[in-house]
């Protein structure tokens, strides 16, 4: 890491830590921002680096959310009774109960989706291109429908999450810190991962899977691991997001295929897929625009989203970083051979 890039990282980190203290009224919005960063980063591992465009990554998000909720409740109460009461039962969690439940919940919410990803890999990863996208979309819709129909986890009416024991200001800061930590850890992990042989392998799969296989790569194993990495961080994101909103239900918070599920793709494409920083830039831009305009658009917001996706995909496919890379290759360490005759004319 050069000194300049280290300084940039530190500045961004400091800004991230300072944000909730500078604008305490918007702490939750900043926390959701980190969730969005997690969304696009994890989507890019599959979609950008490996070329497997999943429309159903949100499955792991919702799965993690539900695992965490069930674990938190199950530690102190009977889950069936709790959900059957539709939030009428107020369980007072002691501090210790709450934090133990949350820690164990987040841990299992990371492990559970990884196992699910491994199983789904076995089923779905033989599909390629659009079939994979449709298959994963089907998984996400099926997950939402099945959860809605399953009474034990609250069905369509959802679960009221345990109440955070600390004061109101503490709650926001706590979850902000947790979300930021998760996103930064995800970034650092992916940064390391993208410098290893593993990423060369999944890039090879993206470029030509048959040739990669012919060269002796065990492609299925690589694809499975890549999806498990996505699922791991998405599960954590789901667990944190569920606790942060305080109430979870299958269609709008846990498995929202049409909002979060498609935001992931839109943000990554906007920033430039297949790069480390593209998804983060895309998430920042998308989330800022969304927060600033969402409330004023009054019903037009999803139209704007649809139009954004269409324009992005049809006219601006390379994304912001891809566009910059084409215009300023030297910024990305790509040496451009300029012809001497042209170089002479410039001062």
């Amino acid at each position: 890491m050069t000194r300049k890039s280290l300084a940039l990282h530190l500045i961004l980190l400091a800004a991230g830590i300072a944000a909730p203290f500078l604008f305490p009224a918007h702490t939750i919005q900043f926390a959701v921002f980190w969730i969005f960063v997690l969304f696009s980063q994890t989507w890019d591992t599959m979609g950008g680096q490996m070329g497997y465009n999943s429309l159903g990554n949100v499955t792991f998000f919702g799965f993690g959310m539900y695992i965490c909720a069930i674990v938190q409740i199950a530690l102190v109460y009977n889950v069936g009774d709790y959900t059957a009461a539709d939030g009428a039962i107020k369980v007072d969690f002691t501090d210790q109960q709450y934090y133990t439940g949350l820690a164990l919940g987040v841990f299992l919410a990371a492990i559970g989706p990884v196992i699910l990803a491994a199983i789904l890999s076995w089923i779905l990863l033989g599909l390629r291109g659009p079939y994979f996208a449709i298959g994963t979309l089907g998984v996400a819709i099926a997950a939402a429908e099945l959860t809605s129909a399953w009474g034990w986890v609250g069905g369509g009416s959802g679960i009221a999450m345990p109440v955070f024991p600390g004061g109101p200001g503490m709650r926001e800061r706590f979850f902000y810190g947790a979300c930021m930590l998760a996103a930064v850890l995800c970034y650092l992990f992916l940064r390391w991962l993208y410098s290893t042989r593993f990423t060369l392998a999944i890039n090879a799969i993206r470029d030509d899977e048959d040739k990669a296989e012919a060269l002796g790569l065990h492609t299925t194993r690589y694809k499975t691991v890549a999806w498990c990495v996505s699922a791991f961080f998405l599960g954590i994101a789901g667990a944190l997001f569920g606790n942060m909103t305080g109430f979870i239900e299958p269609l709008e918070t846990a498995y929202p295929t049409l909002t979060f599920g498609i935001f992931m793709v839109a943000m990554t494409l906007l920033g430039g897929k297949g790069t480390l920083w593209g998804p983060i830039i895309g998430a920042t831009l998308f989330y800022t625009v969304r927060e600033l305009t969402w409330t004023y658009l009054l019903g037009w917001q999803y139209i704007a989203l649809g139009v954004l996706i269409i324009v992005n995909v049809v006219y601006f496919q390379q994304g912001i970083l891809g566009w910059l890379r084409a215009r300023k290759p030297e910024w990305f360490g790509v040496r451009v051979e300029t012809q001497p005759s042209k170089a002479v004319g410039k001062p």
């Binding site: 089923i123 079939y131 298959g135 989203l305 649809g306």
Partner: protein, 308 residues
């Protein structure tokens, strides 16, 4: 509670066994819904085969057609008559969408077309939601119902008419593709666009026409759906998923199989709704999609093992 659910499932199966006329009811409902699925899936297969664009907005085209029919009928046009202007309007709409979006994604990779049409689907849903409101609508066609088996089984006359219209439309499409000059050009483009271009086929026109025909078929299907069932801005995705289930199961380019699969899906869905309960109807369709995808993959795996 789970024991209770299984017991009620068992009761429902018992009903079907002891009173076979209920089976006939389910079959009639299933076939009439399946005929509409067949139209949407047929259009999807046509566009998929010719332009290789996978239209995820298929169901939303159906809904738009339904709403156009609804608006026309509010101005005194009978729904069955409204099919003609709706078909024409949707043809124009398809042409516009082709020129704006589809034309630019045909050359790009496959996921792009999927995502672009997904964006289109979101936009269309929301515009319909704003313009027509989120209420569930239905078209009154003013027909009665046929009673059979002493009133145990009934079917609305409009369902019979709708089934007939779907059949006529399907036959007309097959004849158009088989016999007409343009139909031949469409089939030639589906087989090999480059060769077709060399031989003087205007492939851009063929693509535009194929997409517009699909849009018109969807529009007609939408009016029929509005007459025999209900329309709502967000129900479109259900039809898109069903169309994909059907086309993936039947295989591309096999139009008779598409129709048979569509009718079969309609019947299976009715049975699943009856036995498992209506809340599982959507889940059944999606699970079927996954089962079909897995099954195809196992076939592929066997094929690859055989090659090795």
């Amino acid at each position: 509670m789970r024991v209770g659910a299984i017991a009620s499932m068992w009761d429902n199966i018992q009903i079907l066994v002891t009173a076979p006329v209920f089976n006939i009811q389910l079959w009639l409902n299933g076939l009439s819904i399946g005929a509409v699925f067949a139209l949407a899936a047929y259009g999807l297969a046509l566009v998929w085969g010719v332009t290789s664009v996978k239209n995820l907005a298929q169901g939303d085209f159906v809904m738009l057609g339904g709403y156009l029919g609804y608006e026309l009928s509010r101005h005194g046009v009978h729904p069955i008559v409204a099919i003609v202007p709706v078909g024409a309007l949707m043809f124009g709409y398809g042409w516009l969408i082709y020129k704006l979006i589809i034309r630019r994604v045909i050359q790009l990779d496959l996921f792009t077309s999927l995502l672009a049409t997904f964006g289109l689907a979101i936009t269309m849903q929301q515009v319909m939601n704003l313009v027509f409101g989120p209420d569930v609508r239905t078209l009154k066609s003013g027909f009665g119902r046929f009673d059979m088996f002493g009133g145990m089984v009934d079917i609305t006359q409009i369902r019979v008419i709708a089934f007939g219209m779907c059949a006529v439309l399907a036959v007309a499409m097959v004849l158009f593709l088989r016999k007409s000059r343009m139909g031949q050009a469409i089939r030639a483009t589906a087989q090999d666009p480059r060769a077709a271009r060399v031989l003087g086929v205007n492939t851009d026109l063929v693509y535009a026409l194929t997409f517009s025909i699909n849009s018109a078929i969807c529009g007609v299907a939408g009016v029929i759906i509005a007459m025999i069932w209900v329309i709502q801005p967000f129900y479109g995705i259900a039809y898109s998923v069903r169309a994909f289930v059907i086309v993936t199961a039947a295989g591309l380019g096999n139009f008779p199989a598409v129709i048979v699969t569509a009718l079969g899906l309609g019947v299976i869905e009715q049975y699943a709704g009856f036995v498992l309960g209506a809340q599982f109807q959507q889940a059944t369709v999606v699970s079927l999609l996954l089962i079909i995808l897995i099954w195809r993959q196992l076939l592929l795996r066997r094929h690859r093992l055989a090659l090795q």
